[in-house]
């Protein structure tokens, strides 16, 4: 049976409706352009920001520096969270030691770290990376931990009775065994990290998309703020699509086995 209307047409029509209503409301003068500029105004503003520097840089340069910061914080979270999670899944003692601290930390919102980030790292890149790290760390650790706990005990014992060191058990048994769970965690972690990045940039740094938003606000330019929001959404979407691709690839490879 074939569908009369392809599915993507529904997605497209909701987008058209969204922008249509937005444009309609602004063109008819129902709201002041200082409160809500029209999509056309925003598009013009976006194009202008790609051609002339705003707040010290072109739009894509801001986006790029935000993305680099994101990679820093997210990479650090994965580099610490995944191995620590795997080790906690393997060693009961470590689990007992880390869990109480971890449980206390994970309910503190990433933005609550901003004062400390500023205090410890000043208003440079370090502060932003730290805030992203606090947002991205928990899912990395939790999913690696769960994945490691679910690895077949016989595989670990087989490795042990064939002379594998703890390092080989971690890299050749726990890591591949927990991989589907780890990748799922990275996806959640990237989303949270990207969200907390913007929060961090609102406060601690003087470049990046979050900074553009703050500058747009103080310049009384809502179209600048909306442009920044759209860029945030778009990059977030691209990150998620990328990691979803990785997740599907891992799932497909692992589920056959």
């Amino acid at each position: 049976m074939t569908r009369a209307v392809p599915l993507w047409l529904y997605s497209l029509s909701s987008l058209v409706l969204f922008f249509g209503v937005w444009q309609g409301v602004t063109v008819l003068g129902l709201v002041s352009p200082f409160v809500l500029p029209s999509p056309v105004t925003v598009a013009e503003r976006a194009i202008a920001m790609m051609q002339r520097p705003f707040a010290g840089a072109l739009l894509w340069e801001h986006a790029f520096s935000s993305f680099l910061r994101f990679l820093g914080g997210f990479g650090l979270a994965a580099a610490i969270g995944v191995p620590l999670g795997l080790m906690m899944g393997r060693f009961r003692l470590l689990d007992e030691m880390v869990t109480p601290v971890f449980e206390a930390y994970r309910y503190v919102a990433p933005l609550a770290w901003v004062p400390f980030a500023a205090l410890w790292f000043g208003t440079g890149v370090g502060g932003a990376i730290m805030v992203i790290f606090t947002g991205a760390f928990a899912p990395c650790l939790i999913n690696a931990y769960r994945g490691a706990r679910l690895v077949d005990k016989h595989l670990i014992e087989a490795a042990q009775t064939h002379g594998a060191s703890e390092f080989r058990i971690a890299t050749e048994v726990l890591l591949p065994g927990a991989l589907p769970s780890i990748v799922a965690g990275l996806r959640v972690s990237a989303g949270l990290g990207w969200q907390s990045l913007i929060g961090a940039e609102l406060i601690v740094v003087s470049s990046g998309i979050g900074y553009v938003m703050i500058q747009g606000q103080s310049n009384l330019s809502p179209q600048t703020v909306i442009t920044a929001m759209l860029v945030i959404g778009l990059i977030g979407l691209l990150i998620d699509v990328g990691l979803r691709g990785v997740e599907t690839a891992v799932r497909r490879k692992w589920e056959g086995q």
Binding site: D152, H154, L155, E157, A158, A159, Q160, T161, H162, G163, A164, S165, R168, E172, V173, P176, G177, W254, G256, Q257
Partner: protein
Amino acid sequence: MSEIVIDKVSKIFGDGGAKPFVAIDGVDLRVEDREFISVVGPSGCGKTTLMRMVAGLETVSRGEIRVAGKPVTGPGPDRAVVFQQFALFPWKTVRENIVFGMRSRGASREERDEAVTYYLRLMKMEGTADKYPHQLSGGMQQRVAIARSYATDPGVLLMDEPFGALDAQTRTIMQEELVRVSKGNPRTVMFITHSVEEAVYLADRVVVMGRNPGHIREVIDVASTRQAERWSEEPIDDVMEKPSFTHLRGQVWRLLREQMGADV
């Protein structure tokens, strides 16, 4: 010289807790270097527990286990285990699985390639080196697991119902193959099984265990009969019809039934 000495060993699960459970009580057994022993006994008599203690995967509550003169304190490549569930690494190819233990002792590339070729030929599995375990049948997977353990070059091989998950025909083929492999490559083997035929066919001695709590009921010698009757020169089906075989089988059976009846 890799003899196993099990010296007055007991295993008490939950020792010191509210409900201690004696799984093994005062077992004494000596397995000579390059001797093949089978262990049979009713379900729950502690066969797996005993083997896991020799492997170092389970602690000993009382007594001591020594392998090659050294007390066992943990798992090691001198005592490779073949599990009933195969326990192959699903993300590694047949080749990578076979050389897993060899890499622990730093075997060279040539040595590893040689071993893969050798064992795949021995197991009649040429051309499967780059396949993943899930692409193989159960029998083939268990052959890879056995090859992985042999290639690790352990003094002692521990097998817990390695053929339990296989169908009857595959099982027979695997039994003949194991005899072939272990003849060319003799090791000290502890082989747990529920099949009396298998136990008698493979072993130099059959250890019959009893339960409540787990203990050794009797040890039956097979090696002298096997040599006198030249079992290893004939196919398994013919061996199993020989009077010498059926006699030993009957002897093990009676002991086993006695153990099973003990708590009915």
